[in-house]
């Protein structure tokens, strides 16, 4: 495997490396293969300028930034551990893969091109309660849920798009979970004006755990947007209520937890 430093936004088929907290484990476990790693730290913007956040900004830098919305700051603070947040980047966080143990252990599941979702009949207490009919994986990013709720826009080396459109629910014909194109690089996030926002997270211990359920809520004027982490194969924009949830036998508790956190998040927005 070769490592080169990026001098432009062209990846030329290489795999971009920033903090490496997700990429390196995937390479080591053999889930991801790469001939060339491209160190993009020199070309991806880092830092906060007005309402623009460079995709190379670390989670630690964001959790300490007073000027960004509460939901994003809290999502960063409640993610991972201090060590991971010191190197993990915003862009890398948005592109994390699921923590589904079957997928991480390379079971031949649908996301790996196979014809079965092992979690559905197997061990799925941390899995999805929405859109879990094809693949029950849960999206692990606290930050992605926060940005979806905040209505943020993503700028890449090729286009601009709402953050939510970076993600797709995998299907029989197309197993991908993002819309990222080959050689496309995340560059920055553009935040919208927001009056008040909040991020609440349920996890299995007090720190350093992926969300069982994360709830981001943002209010602008009389419009409130709510997005959830850990409940669907993608960051889940909550439209309506939980009627459409399709929990599996051992993860129905997530519906209860999500309802409670949504109620609290809305109350917190109103209190402001």
């Amino acid at each position: 495997m070769e490592l080169r430093r990026a001098s432009s936004l062209e990846l030329d088929g290489g795999v971009p490396l920033h903090g490496g907290t997700e990429l390196v484990p995937l390479l080591r476990s053999g889930i991801l293969r790469a001939d060339t790693l491209v160190d993009v730290r020199g070309v991806v913007p880092r830092g906060i300028t007005g309402s623009t956040i460079g995709a190379g900004t670390t989670l630690a830098e964001l959790e300490g930034a007073a000027q960004i919305p509460d939901a994003l700051r809290e999502a960063c603070r409640l993610a991972a551990s201090p060590q991971l947040r010191n190197v993990g980047s915003l862009g890398g966080n948005l592109l994390q893969s699921t923590r589904c143990w079957y997928w991480r252990l390379k079971w031949p599941c649908r996301l790996h091109g196979g014809d079965e979702c092992f979690a559905q009949e197997g061990e799925h207490r941390e899995h999805a309660i929405f859109e879990n009919g094809f693949c029950a994986s849960a999206h692990p990013s606290d930050v992605a849920a926060a940005l979806v709720a905040l209505g943020a826009t993503l700028r890449t080396s090729k286009r601009e798009l709402p953050v939510g459109e970076l993600y797709r629910v995998p299907t029989e014909d197309d197993r991908r979970t993002t819309t990222l194109e080959p050689d496309e690089l995340l560059l920055a996030v553009e935040l919208e004006q927001c009056d008040r926002s909040v991020y609440l997270k349920a996890m299995e211990r007090k720190r350093w755990a992926f969300p069982l359920v994360g709830v981001a809520a943002a209010r602008t004027g009389d419009k409130t947007r709510i997005a959830l982490a850990g409940v669907a194969p993608i960051p889940w924009l909550l439209e309506g209520d939980f009627e459409q949830a399709t929990p599996l036998p051992r993860n129905a508790y997530k519906v209860d937890v999500a309802k409670a956190l949504v109620k609290r998040a809305v109350a917190a927005l109103e209190a402001g």
Binding site: S81, R99, W101, Y102, R104, L105, F118, E121, G122, E123, R125, A202, E204, R205, K206, R207, W208, A209, L212, R250, N251, Y253, D256, V257, A260, L261, K263, R264
Partner: protein
Amino acid sequence: MARLIRTEKEVEGRYEEVWLVVEEDALEQWPAGPREIVGRPAARIDGLERARGEAVYTADLKLPGMLHAAVLRSPYAHARVARIDLAPALALEGVHAAIGPGELDVLVEECGFQGAAIAAVCADTYEQARSAVAAIEVEWEQLEVLIDPDEAVARGQLLGEPRLRSRGDFERGLAEADLVVTGEYSTQVVLHNSMETHQAVVQWLGDSLEIYISTQYIWGIRDEVASTLGLPADKVRVVCHYMGGGFGSKNGADDYTFIAIELAKRTLRPVRCALTRREENLATGNRNATIQRLTIGARSDGTLTALGGDYVNATGWGGWSSPVEGPMQMLYACDNVKTTTWAAKINQPPMKAFRAPGFVEGTFGLESLLDVLAAKLDIDPLELRRRNYADHDASDSRPYSGKNLLECYRRAEPHWERRHEVRARSTETVKRGVGMASQIWYGGGGPPSYAWVRVGSDGRATVITAMQDIGTGTRTAMAQIAAEELGIPLDHVLVSLGDSARGPFASISAGSSTTPSMGPAVRAAAADARRQIEEIAAQRGTPEAPLAEIVGLLEDAQILGKGGRGPNPAGMQVLTFGVQVAEVAVDVETGEVWVDRIAAVHDVGRVINPLGASSQIEGGIIQGIGHTLSEHRLHDPRTGQILTTGLDAYKLPTFADVPEIVSELIDEPDTQLTNLGSKGLGEPPIVPTAAAISNAIRDATGAEVHELPISREEMLRALREAAAKEKVGAPAGV
């Protein structure tokens, strides 16, 4: 003088009758209370070298020319190797040797669990060894898996006969009861996950073998390896100077040691076999899951009339049946007790001892159900326990060598009284409560164990014994005992340990036995040295002269004291006791549980180092909180394959999960036990933690949890169940 006795030997609740040669123990115990050095807090004498990274652990060791081994393990829970070809591995660069099924006892063809070792390779680098293992070609024949422990019991697929223990007449006891409560409790598989993974570095020197290993039992490794290889035991030298934790999982030599030995033999090079964190999560033992179906009968005044338990240990493909029924048999006075314990042989990795094996699990079930009884009888839980206090061993009528559980209860009262104030801080969504649970466990240690003490003309002493310090602070405690006995400052004592070639036999560090086994031997050796120094002083006509003055005359001469561990008191039961009081908060909407505070009061006899003791209590409670709330080794229910293989998915507690911990020790020497009156404290603090937390949850919410870990799913289920009961009106009694 040595003496031959017939005695009962206990390790972690397992007894055997043995002949033992023991040393007489003629020393009087010191009076109770802190001495000059013993009984006063001492920072670890090896703390700085550990903190600076200077302490050499097995994991740090690099011998010249050392090769690295990697192990091929079964990916399936039950499978047979139909064909294996090691040639592709041997063809790779840097590879020196490869061994497969049948070439060693620990390399098997039929694997009864995921993680069973089938082949191993050694190479110049670890990366080369891993690549070579990946290159081995294997055709697997997958076999039917049996994972459900109840199903294994129904089919009679057991490890050994069911263990039936009965006293009195259980049925009659039920008939005499005014109230009978029943409950089914289950506990999960949890892992030791020591910071230092299981590993050994081995080299042959002619026909002698040197084994550097992360172990809890230097001498056990020596004897196990010698007998397996047919070597005289003194041809095997075992070294462990520093050790990164074991918790019961490093009592034996295991596959990695024998793999390193064989590969070292074949290559004539030193070989390291160090397991990865993933292997640690598969194949190095666990606290097995249990199912406990319990019945308690009591009179309306709270007197227990019947205790019954059907226990299933989901033992795995090997291991032994842990004494999960022990607390029910031993904790309370009750005339009619009947327990049956099955060990289900299932296609899961074998259990190993894990910090009070069986008693942690059994205490959770028993003490949880006891609080259900207390609530139904409307008796204060602490009072209920006092009313059923056992004043002699409840299981076999022997007197206790010492028991201060009532004093523990008394000292726990101020913590227990906080419950009114704690409950009052509840809100609509966050309910708070306080719960308690009692602790019973072994921890008396036993003979044999030996120590030497060497005193030179500089007035400094070295304690020499081939024991191991598994991270518990043993070095410091032994130095304190020697310094106290010799009357010299603590920093004048060195402790030389960790090498079977440099010192006499010392006990296993398991079953909370290191301090009670080794401490008396060290004191006896120091006393022997002191007696010799006093004799010299008397000859000189200055019997009152200070030690430094007398040894100052020695020049190159040295005083050599030796001491051995005397016998345990005949016909007595030596046990440790305690109580913990937990304060929790439960978010009744999200099922989140916080532990705010745990107060622990334990009775382990004389305390050698109060600072080390409080560390042990904190460590036990933190590990207990992980067991109670977040740790869970998960497997796929269809294939039995393990799903949590790293510390991302297997959730140990973090510092943020650690509550305020208040630790108190009775510090009353056990007058019957050795020249110190000290018992062990490694295991007692983890025993009652889960039960205290579950009882606090019940106090806070009325919800009865039945399953560990108390996940959000289990917490919300219990809350729903409690709400439904309240709606129909709580049934009063039976």
